[in-house]
């Protein structure tokens, strides 16, 4: 965990998650500023808009714009939800934010609640991170005890309650409407949109859902101003961003860097490619993002626009690095198995298609590929993409399409020769457990 940023910076010692430590780092100053200076909800939203903060969960939707969709005049309950159901393979940033800096999320959510007129929020925490959930509950209690949550926060007439909700580990519950279903106690399955959560969300009430890192960025924006945040990054891509670097690097971990930092710098921060081997491929935004060849990646900067231009997505910022010892067929087989297992089963193309994809790739990997299998795979992905209720169908298809697009010859070799292009001993060498 290394940082030049705003969320992970100043996290020294083992009590960084405590309220006192957070306050010492300037925490809750933003909230206090809002209350003391009586900053209006509109001003808060316009500050967030100015910051060009884009959703850190993966879609990169402008946060200020999303907040402005909430019908502030709506009578009755409005809800706020934080999506900490971090399940995307390769992504582990929200876990660290909640583990080391939970109050930044709490403060961000209080401010968001203030801006959108929500009186109640939920933080949906991924099912497989237990101590993080407990720690967040403790942080909530600290905030309640300090009068930062509950009725009449800091003596103002603004009230906001926040609760943690522990999921059960389903990837699909990271899809925002499935997350809402899950909070409601139902099976986590995405809803058909429209209606969108801003008009029909949790318990049928207007709801805004943001990612953990998005909320954690809010206090800085309010404290230092939207322009300051924007200036940290580059136009249209404000602020800093956490990247979870994993795979064949010497120092895997979370790195908070300004948006627009060249990929080569990030790779350097992560200690470079293991064993001095050649960079083969990078998945720049979590397993759902299309894979890019290493050479393309070395020319990219880490921001939404640059990665998008190169044909992939910044996504959640999970950078999966693969060196030349990687068998791309095997890598794709594992990814496809993930989507096959995590499809919720609600709509036909994803329920049936993800299993089909996995089985064909599994067959190729095991030397049973057929000459028309690559066409078949492409055709299945076309039939899934854009025809499902949620984005999981697309997420399962994009890796397949991009792996075949950039590494088609490896697949063809597998099919033709019933074995891998990368020699077995090289593969073995590359997959040795890394010891720092």
């Amino acid at each position: 965990m290394t940082s030049k940023g705003i969320i992970l910076s100043g996290l020294e010692g083992d009590r960084t998650w405590r309220l006192a430590d957070y306050v010492q780092r300037g925490g809750y100053a933003a909230l206090k500023k809002i209350i003391a200076e009586n900053i209006s909800a509109d001003q808060v939203i316009s500050e967030v808009k100015k910051s060009a903060l884009r959703g850190r969960g993966g879609a990169g939707f402008p946060t200020g714009l999303k907040w402005s969709f909430m019908p502030r005049a709506f009578p009755g309950a409005k809800y706020l939800a934080c999506n900490s159901d971090e399940g995307e393979p390769g992504t582990f940033k929200d876990r660290d934010i909640l583990r080391y800096n939970p109050h930044s999320v709490i403060e961000g959510m209080i401010i968001a609640g203030y801006a959108m007129g929500c009186e109640r929020g939920y933080n949906y925490i991924h099912g497989e991170i237990f101590e993080v959930y407990d720690r967040f509950e403790e942080a909530l209690q600290e905030a309640r005890d300090a009068g930062l949550l509950g009725k009449n926060i800091l003596g103002s007439d603004f009230s906001f309650d926040l609760f943690a909700h522990h999921g059960y580990g389903a990837y699909i519950c990271g899809e925002e409407t499935a997350l809402l279903e899950s909070i409601e106690g139902k099976k986590g399955q995405p809803r058909f949109k429209p209606p969108f959560p801003a008009s029909f969300g949790l318990y049928g009430k207007p709801t805004t859902i943001n990612n953990t890192e998005t909320f954690a960025s809010i206090p800085y924006i309010i404290r230092e101003g939207g322009d300051a945040f924007l200036a940290l990054g580059k136009p249209n891509n404000g602020g800093t961003k956490l990247f979870s670097v994993s795979g064949h690097v010497n120092k895997p971990g979370n790195y908070e860097i300004p948006m627009g930092t060249p990929f080569s710098e990030l790779l350097e921060l992560a200690g470079g490619v293991r064993g001095g081997r050649k960079l083969k491929a990078v998945i720049p935004g979590g397993s759902s993002a299309p894979v890019l060849p290493g050479s393309v990646m070395m020319d990219c900067t880490m921001d939404y626009d640059s990665i998008s231009k190169a044909g992939s997505m910044l996504g959640s910022g999970a950078v999966i690095v693969m060196d030349e010892s990687t068998c791309m067929v095997k890598a794709l087989e594992r990814l496809s198995y993930f989507y096959f297992e995590e499809s919720c089963g609600q709509c036909t193309p994803c329920r049936e298609g993800t299993g089909w994809l996995y089985r064909v790739i599994h067959r190729i990997e095991n030397g049973l590929g057929r000459s028309d299998d690559l066409d078949l795979l492409n055709s299945i992905t076309t039939n899934i993409m854009g025809r499902t209720i949620c984005a999981l169908g697309d997420a399962a298809s994009m890796p397949v399409q991009s792996f075949i697009k950039h590494f088609g010859d490896e697949f063809a070799f597998h099919i033709e020769h019933k074995k891998c292009l990368v020699p077995k001993d090289v593969q073995r060498e590359g997959s040795k457990i890394y010891v720092a």
């Binding site: 099976k187 919720c344 089963g345």
Partner: protein
């Protein structure tokens, strides 16, 4: 209105509808599986993807709202490509077993695969296998064929009101299943068979009975409850193979209750009476029709000559046709007697002659959707009127507030805002208090009918809540259920309910017990139509010499089976016109004449809203059985009576109905002119509350094996509240001896806090409880 274009056709559609609904209006068929007009939108099958201008990808027609200026192509290249893609996915794991699938020939997946499926499958991996589920005696499963459209899940939750099915597991492992070790026990469960677009859910009783294309489809009307659901009876080789709903938005919509759907299994029962039979020297012998008819005609003639016409009486089942009821009345009256009745379970007749017409629902069934307040008095509502309750359930979602008064409650699977549960005797006081509360609230005076009785009453919270609810409605209704009609003081309940309806400007009506509960009045099969006579209670308590029984089983269909047994045993002649043999017929009757059930005769049922629905026979009469109206006509002629020269059933009908075949609306009137002077003292003794179990109500349903195997067919238990169990010193789970004035039975005690304190709920119309005689009154419990 919005201007849109579908497949090049310009049209104007109302705001808020979906592309699917708009396409339907111009006859553009969009293929679909999960979409169903009566269910919520799931948008999960993805078969209805269509091309929409400016949309980057195809959109599901079922879930996409129309917008002004929208251009839709349902069969463009993009749309069809998407639809074919989805079809391929649906088929990869679907077994290719159409030749051995019961759904074959009427399968939506099979039909659509002709248009959208490939010639050959590109999927060469192993197919999915899903374990079958035991959903009970009505629905058979082949879950490997399931395409997870969730229509069945949505039906049970939304229409039947109870979440009995769900989709468990994820992704490819997703399975539709009931709760662990549970079956589907809804009284509407059969509808999931119709809804299932593939062969995953099929009819268990019908299973492999015939191919869809081998059967002819014939229209009919359900003979069971008072709704008069429209049926499609499917017939092969002159046998009824199965029954499906005939869509009628005004009545059953596209649904059927399980009773309507599965009772046909009784039609081929071994208990069917095949030939006329005479009892001679204590032995039953088969005979021909002429002998039997002459025997009956002569018997009636000599009894009339010896003892007078008023010693002849006739009782008819309210499930008989209008023509049968009319001709029975005409026969009895022709013989000079007024003793005819069809209100078999009724026990209080003090309103006879004081009612202005035939009691009916007081409103069309379709208008239930517009109600905002409803007060149901004396009804086992959900089981007695499954599809009316379903309509109320839907209306409740749109804001209808339901109040109810009954001595025992089941879960109605719909929100009941105010529930008053009191012993049968106290129902009248409860109604009086509500009337008084309404009077105080509205400032309108109580009518003389009830004013004296209400004097000095103190309004309590519960009655005030109901009064407030009814008083605040704009379209309210007060309904009397079967229990209210069977109540020992039904006339007083009638008077007070009428007063409550008057004070709250509510529509007032009767739910009606049977298919012809209104028709019986219209046919005049009552002892105050023209010739005065004895009602059913009088006929059985002061025994007559001769009884003609039409379509009923004296052991189960009468309010007091013990009195009936005594009366029939002592009679000189008992003539039974019935489709079935029964133990009591074999014991008490002297003549049994086989008459055709509803599938083998023409007739009319007048439903609760006064709608006369005629139907034709769908199969030939079985054995020697004949339509009841023909038997009665010949009996009338053989008896030498005038006015029986009918040539066709329409001639009979013409004497009862208007020339256009409808009921004269002036004949439908719920008002009663009766004064209640004082409220009766409440007795402290333990009272019996008898519900009529849904599948015990009529002779056909009682003989349907699959219906009897359901949870609604289990042997009745003695249901008591926890407090009553303690008070009486009995124990839940153990058998007790129950005694009434007529006899005793034993039953297992069950705790049921839906039962009013001091009462025992013990079902009637059942062999286990028949010995108790009356459905009402004092009983005692003893530990065994």
């Amino acid at each position: 209105m919005l201007e849109i274009e579908i497949d090049g056709k310009q049209l104007q559609v109302p705001d808020g509808i979906t592309v699917m609904e708009a396409a339907n209006t111009v006859g553009a068929y969009v293929p679909h599986f999960c979409y169903h007009k009566k269910l919520s939108i799931a948008a999960n099958c993805r078969m209805c993807l269509v091309q929409v201008e400016k949309a980057p990808k195809p959109l599901p027609a079922c879930a996409t709202p129309v917008t002004n200026g929208m251009k839709v192509w349902t069969h463009s290249e993009q749309a069809v490509k998407a639809q074919k893609g989805v079809m391929e996915f649906l088929l990869i794991n679907h077994p290719l077993d159409c030749p051995i699938c019961d759904q074959g020939g009427e399968c939506q997946l099979q039909d659509l695969s002709v248009g959208y499926g490939g010639v050959e499958s590109r999927y060469q991996e192993e197919k999915r296998v899903v374990g079958n589920k035991d959903l009970g005696p009505l629905v058979s499963t082949d879950m490997t064929r399931c395409i997870n459209c969730t229509r069945c899940v949505r039906f049970t939750t939304e229409i039947a009101g109870l979440m009995e099915l769900g989709q468990a597991f994820r992704g490819e492992h997703a399975e539709i299943m009931p709760f662990v070790e549970k079956t589907i026990d809804s009284e509407l469960s059969g509808n999931i068979i119709d809804l299932c677009p593939v062969g995953a859910l099929t009819s268990k009783p019908f299973r492999f009975g015939a191919r869809a294309w081998e059967m002819s489809r014939r229209k009919s009307v359900s003979p069971h409850d008072s709704l008069g659901s429209n049926l499609v009876v499917q017939v092969k080789n002159d046998a009824v193979k199965r029954v499906l709903p005939l869509e009628n938005e005004a009545l059953n919509e596209c649904w059927l209750s399980d009773k309507d759907r599965f009772s046909y299994e009784a039609l081929n029962s071994e208990e069917r009476l095949a030939r006329p039979m005479l009892k001679q020297g204590g032995r039953w012998i088969e005979t021909d029709w002429q002998t039997a008819i002459e025997y009956v005609a002569n018997g009636l003639k000599s009894i009339k000559a010896e003892s007078g016409a008023d010693t002849i009486g006739a009782l008819a089942s309210p499930h008989s046709t209008l023509e049968e009821l009319y001709l029975l009345r005409k026969l009895v009256q022709g013989l000079g007697s007024g003793n005819v009745d069809f209100r078999l379970r009724q026990s209080d007749f003090s309103a006879d002659g004081k009612m202005s017409g035939a009691p009916w629902l007081g409103m069309p069934v379709a208008d239930i959707a517009n109600l905002d307040r409803l007060f149901v008095v004396g009804s086992f509502f959900r089981k007695d009127h499954p599809l009316v309750a379903q309509r109320v359930r839907q209306a409740a979602k749109r804001g209808l507030k339901v109040s109810a008064l009954n001595p025992a409650f089941d879960d109605w699977q719909l929100p009941v805002a105010n529930r008053v549960c009191v012993p049968p005797q106290e129902m009248i006081v409860a109604l009086a208090k509500i009337a008084k509360a309404l009077s105080e609230q509205t400032g309108r005076e109580l009518s003389v009918q009830v004013a004296a009785a209400c004097a000095g009453l103190v309004v309590d919270e519960a009655s005030l809540a109901i009064a407030n609810s009814l008083g605040s409605g704009r379209r309210s209704a007060v309904w009397l259920g079967n229990y209210a009609v069977q109540h020992e003081h039904a006339a007083e309940i009638h008077v007070f309910a009428q007063e409550i309806a008057r004070l709250s400007d509510a529509s007032f009506g009767f739910l009606g017990e049977a298919a012809n509960s209104v028709g019986g009045y219209i046919a005049g099969a009552v002892p105050f139509a023209g010739v005065p006579g004895k009602n059913v209670t009088e006929m059985l308590s002061a025994p007559l010499k001769a009884y003609v029984l039409l379509g009923l089983d004296p052991a189960f269909d009468l309010g007091n089976s013990a009195a009936a047994a005594g009366a029939l045993k002592g009679a000189d002649m008992v003539v039974m016109l019935s489709a079935f043999k029964s133990d009591s017929a074999l014991e008490f009757a002297d003549v049994m004449l086989p008459i055709a059930p509803f599938t083998e005769t023409a007739g009319v049922f007048v439903n609760c809203e006064g709608r006369a629905q005629s139907f034709f026979p769908v199969v030939k009469s079985r054995g020697e059985s004949r339509p009841g109206w023909k038997v009665l006509k010949v009996l009338g002629e053989t008896s030498g009576l005038d006015g029986f020269g009918f040539e066709k059933i329409e001639d009979v009908r013409a004497e009862v109905l208007e020339s256009d075949g409808t009921v004269n609306p002036a004949k439908l009137d719920n008002s009663v002119a009766l004064n209640v002077e004082s409220l009766r003292a409440v007795e402290a003794a333990v009272q019996r509350i008898a519900d009529i179990p849904i599948y015990s109500a009529d002779p056909i349903a009682r003989r349907s094996p699959p219906l009897q195997q359901t949870q609604d067919g289990v042997a009745p238990s003695a249901r008591l509240s926890a407090a009553t169990i303690t008070r009486l010193g009995v124990q839940a789970g153990l058998a007790v001896r129950i005694k009434s004035a007529y006899g005793e039975v034993s039953a297992v005690v069950a705790e049921d806090d839906g039962v009013a304190d001091g009462c025992v709920r013990l079902a009637g119309a059942h062999p286990m409880t028949a010995a108790l005689g009356s459905l009402h009154g004092e009983i005692s419990l003893e530990r065994m």
